[in-house]
């Protein structure tokens, strides 16, 4: 066991963390701003990957898939918010949870009917194939690209939320929707847009994951679990929390892979249990609204 191997393992962990952040971001945004626990998250991630596959098939370009699929699925998400979730606002938080839980099943079955139960190939785009020598070892170029995209998305989100008027309204709306309404802000429009953005980012995660994890109707099942672990460890609804938690989980999984590889999946859940014992609201969490 050389220093080089441990360094490489650490790097793989951080890279995996970036993937996990991407996977969890949509869930975290929608919960943080709207207080909705979106159980259809994994299914929407999968639908995003299929949309990417479809767009890539039509245009012959991964880049169009990367841009268009999240927009399309984001719009689809707005439809879900407008017609399925909006009637449930003001009711118990269990209602949207149950609705999205069922919606997840509907989406998976719909994809099975439309695209079949078998996996479908999704090639790594030619420009991003191959490995890069990091000095400590070789790493796939595509995974480095994913890290870049995740950083960009995080930066845009941060600017959008912290530096723009829209972001200010969104943050205020999530803190106290009633006062915002009194002030004359159309909060329902705001939530429509936020839900759309959250779903769009989820779909982007699906497209990014497709060249690594292959596309199949069940690809979202594990993603939902991963996203919940990251979101819960970070603190439900905290963006910074999701980032820190994603990296911690990634490194934990990676280091476990080195010393006890068969525990690599379970370690996520063990870590979550441990952190919840010490910090019941997660690392950056505040007590959840309405719960």
């Amino acid at each position: 066991m050389t220093v080089q191997l441990i360094a490489m393992q650490l790097f793989s962990g951080l890279a995996l963390g970036a993937v996990l952040i991407m996977v969890a971001l949509g869930l975290s945004i929608i919960f943080g701003m709207l207080g909705i626990v979106n159980f259809a998250h994994g299914a929407l991630f999968m639908v995003g990957a299929y949309a990417g596959l479809y767009v890539a098939g039509l245009t012959g370009s991964f880049w169009w898939a990367l841009v268009l699929a999240p927009v399309l699925i984001g719009l689809f998400g707005m439809l879900i918010e407008r017609f399925l979730i909006r009637p449930l606002y003001g009711r118990s938080p269990d209602d949207p949870l149950l609705l999205t839980f069922g919606l997840g099943y509907v989406l998976v079955e719909a994809v099975r009917i439309l695209f079949g139960t078998d996996g479908i190939p999704f090639s790594t785009p030619a420009a991003l194939r191959g490995v890069v020598n990091l000095g400590i070892g070789f790493f796939p170029l595509y995974r480095l690209f994913v890290i870049g995209v995740v950083c960009t998305v995080l930066l845009l989100l941060w600017i959008g939320l912290e530096k723009t008027k829209f972001g200010l309204i969104v943050r205020a709306g999530s803190a106290d929707p009633l006062i915002m309404r009194v002030l004359g802000v159309d909060i329902s429009k705001l939530w429509l847009v936020v839900f759309g953005i959250g779903v769009g980012i989820t779909a982007l995660g699906g497209v990014l994951a497709a060249p690594m994890r292959n596309v199949s109707p069940e690809m979202g099942t594990l993603v939902l679990a991963e996203a919940f672990v990251v979101t819960v460890i970070g603190g439900m609804g905290s963006l910074a929390g999701a980032v820190v938690a994603g990296l911690i989980v990634g490194v934990a999984v990676s280091m476990t892979s080195l010393f006890a590889p068969e525990m690599a999946t379970i370690v996520m859940f063990a870590l979550m249990a441990l952190i919840l014992l010490v910090r019941p609201n997660g690392l950056y969490g505040r007590a959840a609204p309405g719960l």
Binding site: M8, G119, R143, M212, N214, S216, S257, L258, E262, I266
Partner: protein
């Protein structure tokens, strides 16, 4: 108020009707001879994981089994009786499989069970059929099912088993002094394949330099790869199944693993190869019970493929799919031979049966009921070498049926 009374009355009537209905159903159930009177159909129960990560393979099994049933019915049935296949989704869950099998036996009154994919689920089905003296043709790889503690005189094992698969694959891929790292799914299938490969490696003189267990159904393999690369093996032997196979090979290839070592798998899966691009699997070597390309040399393979193409609009049968066909076909041949479904007679017939329905001659060994059969070694083709979309593999070897690659009867705990 009156409305309330009306409602109550209605409810009472409907309850009475329901009770009557129930009684009627119970009557039929308690008089099964009514349902069975017309020329006793031969019913074959078929539990298989139609949903979940092995769905692609399971659906192929069903299609092949249905073909075997259709061919039997087309020629007028078996011993003058129609054959029916009762397919049930076991959801790749041992408990679910046991329940479905029990239902098939108790409620649907099947005459035999064929099916189950994944060794743990298969063992659960075997427990149920063994306890009820029910004929069972198992069609998924398992070593345990051959051993005396799990032996049922009513169970026949149509699939290859890990010992024979790995012995043949290792023979054609490992060399004396080869350094091998194993990446193994952490459940029965992976463990049995690993044990088989190590046993073969010992005989050949290949050296094990690493064993990495990965969780079943893992989505990301990137964190296992630095270790694999640091061990610098000649061969990376990946022992997992279904989507795990496609995902792990794809991610290993992304890391450039194939430039540094050869990838060997126990079973090269047709459907998983289709789930990724040809470049990903190119050069990967693994075993198989069946590949449609056998039709160039084996007449029965050609007949099987043609019948399959005719029934399914030009589609071709796959490896695990073929088990559904050979399993059902061998059972029906034995039933035909004895002219009925009386279990003891069918068992005796199966034990002496020589059958060639798709891949060359097969027979069930008497002690453990393992099907002695040929094992293929395949290599995944480069895109440029593929003559059609289905032209996936090159047959490197077709190792003829031999008991030599099986554990001996005494090794398994049988007295003879």
């Amino acid at each position: 108020m009156t409305k309330g009374i009306e409602k109550l009355a209605l409810r009472q009537i409907s309850r009475r009707a329901a009770i009557l209905g129930l009684a009627g159903t119970a009557g039929v159930l308690s008089m099964p001879w009514i349902a069975r009177a017309q020329a006793e159909t031969i019913r074959i129960g078929f539990p298989t994981p139609l949903t979940g990560p092995f769905a692609a393979e399971a659906n192929d099994q069903v299609r092949s089994a249905q073909l075997a049933v259709k061919l039997a019915n087309d020629k007028g049935g078996i011993a003058g009786r129609k054959v029916e296949l009762l397919v049930r989704d076991d959801k790749l869950n041992a408990g679910e499989a046991a329940t479905r099998t029990l239902e098939l036996i108790e409620k649907d009154k099947v005459h035999a069970v064929v099916g189950a994919l994944s060794s743990a689920v298969q063992l659960a089905v075997n427990e149920v059929t063994r306890a009820r003296n029910m004929l069972y043709i198992s069609i998924s790889q398992s070593d345990t099912i051959n051993e005396i503690k799990d032996f049922s005189p009513y169970t026949f094992h149509e699939a290859l088993n890990p010992t024979m698969t790995t012995a043949v694959v290792a023979k054609h891929t490992f060399k004396k002094g080869s350094k091998v790292v194993y990446l193994v799914a952490d459940y029965a299938y992976g463990h049995e394949m690993l044990r088989g490969f190590k046993r073969a490696a010992k005989e050949i003189g290949a050296e094990t330099v690493g064993e990495i267990l990965h969780p079943f159904g893992a989505a990301d393999y990137s964190t296992f790869i630095p270790t694999i690369l640091s061990l610098k093996p000649d061969i990376l032997c990946i022992c997992n199944f279904g989507r795990d196979q496609a995902n792990s090979i794809k991610q290993a290839v992304d890391f450039g693993v194939k430039d540094m070592m050869k990838i060997v798998v126990p079973v090269l899966l047709h459907n998983q190869r289709l789930a990724v691009d040809p470049e990903v699997f190119e050069g990967v070597v693994g075993g198989a019970n069946y590949y449609w390309g056998l039709e160039a040399t084996v007449p029965f393979a050609k007949a099987f493929n043609d019948a399959f193409r005719a029934m399914y609009k030009g589609a071709i049968p796959t490896d695990y799919g073929a088990y559904g066909y050979t399993g059902v076909a061998s059972l029906l041949m034995a039933i035909e031979k004895v002219g009925g479904t009386e279990p003891q007679k069918v068992i005796a017939a199966l034990e002496t049966l020589k059958y060639d329905v798709a891949k060359g001659e097969q027979s069930y060994r008497k002690c453990d009921h393992q099907s002695v059969q040929s094992v293929l070694v395949l290599e995944s083709k480069a895109k440029s070498a593929m003559k059609s979309d289905a032209d996936l593999f090159k047959i490197i070897a077709n190792e003829p049926a031999s008991e030599g690659v099986l554990r001996s009867c005494s090794e398994l705990g049988f007295k003879s």
